[in-house]
């Protein structure tokens, strides 16, 4: 299973979304599912760039996409700061305009778009594993 390395910069997001879309399309995922996978991958990579690396230059993140018969697993690895993924509060997406939280939306979208999401921190770095089944 090939692993793709990207500089941890927002300019990499386009390429990350393209890799995910190409692999998901080859696995027969619907265009709706492909858009969801691209959005989840983008939000996850954005989090790594912003939080794990805090915008530091020279850092990298790696992306692998593992196709199985009925599901795809996207794994992202970074060597930055651990990010307490599970402590991100669920934003109230029903709140009125003035009470709408400005943060937490990325993690919320990842959880909504993917079937399973697991975040692990090791001494060597952090691993986010996200799986989506075919509908």
């Amino acid at each position: 299973m090939p692993s793709y390395e990207f500089p941890a910069r927002f300019e990499s997001l386009d390429k990350i979304r393209n890799v995910v879309a190409t692999i998901a399309r080859s696995g027969g995922f619907s265009e709706k599912a492909i858009y969801s996978l691209q959005l989840a991958a983008d939000e996850a990579a954005t989090n790594i760039i912003e939080h794990a690396y805090g915008g530091a230059s020279g850092a990298f993140l790696s992306v692998t996409c593992d196709l199985k018969k009925d599901e795809i697993t996207i794994t992202m690895r970074d060597t930055g700061k651990a990010f307490d993924f599970d402590s991100v509060k669920t934003p109230n997406v029903k709140a009125k305009l003035s009470k709408r939280p400005i943060g937490g939306l990325g993690v919320y979208l990842i959880r909504q778009l993917m079937d399973t999401v697991r975040y692990e921190s090791f001494n060597s770095g952090n691993v986010l594993t996200m799986t989506k089944r075919k509908e």
Binding site: F10, D14, L39, D42, T46, I49, L97, L105, L109
Partner: protein
């Protein structure tokens, strides 16, 4: 991402093309801020040619809507929202915060 703005008597029509993500959202936000700084608070965003928008773009939309609606001076409305983007906005609960129109001319006429 490419953005073009047309100024009408009662509102601005802003067409957003391409992809809005964390790389391009700051430019998207700056264009919305420039309109508001110029005293334009009635904004129609035509999203017909928008291919993709992440939560970075959603945040810019939210900030603009808060600013425009202050003192009842205006509002941001959306026109021709592509299906995938509409679905993502729904997931984020944003469709409740923005009037949407199928026809940008009707959206402009709304002001």
């Amino acid at each position: 991402m490419e953005i073009t703005t047309q100024t009408f008597k009662h509102c601005d029509l802003i067409s957003v093309n391409g992809r809005v993500d964390s790389a391009t959202a700051p430019q998207f936000a700056r264009i919305l801020e420039a309109a508001m700084d110029a005293g334009r608070f009635k904004l129609v965003l035509d999203l017909n040619e928008l291919e993709y928008m992440s939560s970075a773009g959603f945040r810019a939309l939210l900030a603009a809507q808060r600013n425009c609606k202050r003192y009842n001076r205006g509002e941001v409305v959306l026109a021709r929202v592509p299906q995938r983007i509409r679905e993502a906005l729904e997931l984020a609960g944003f469709t409740e915060l923005f009037k949407t129109f199928d026809d940008p001319t009707v959206a402009v006429g709304n002001f």
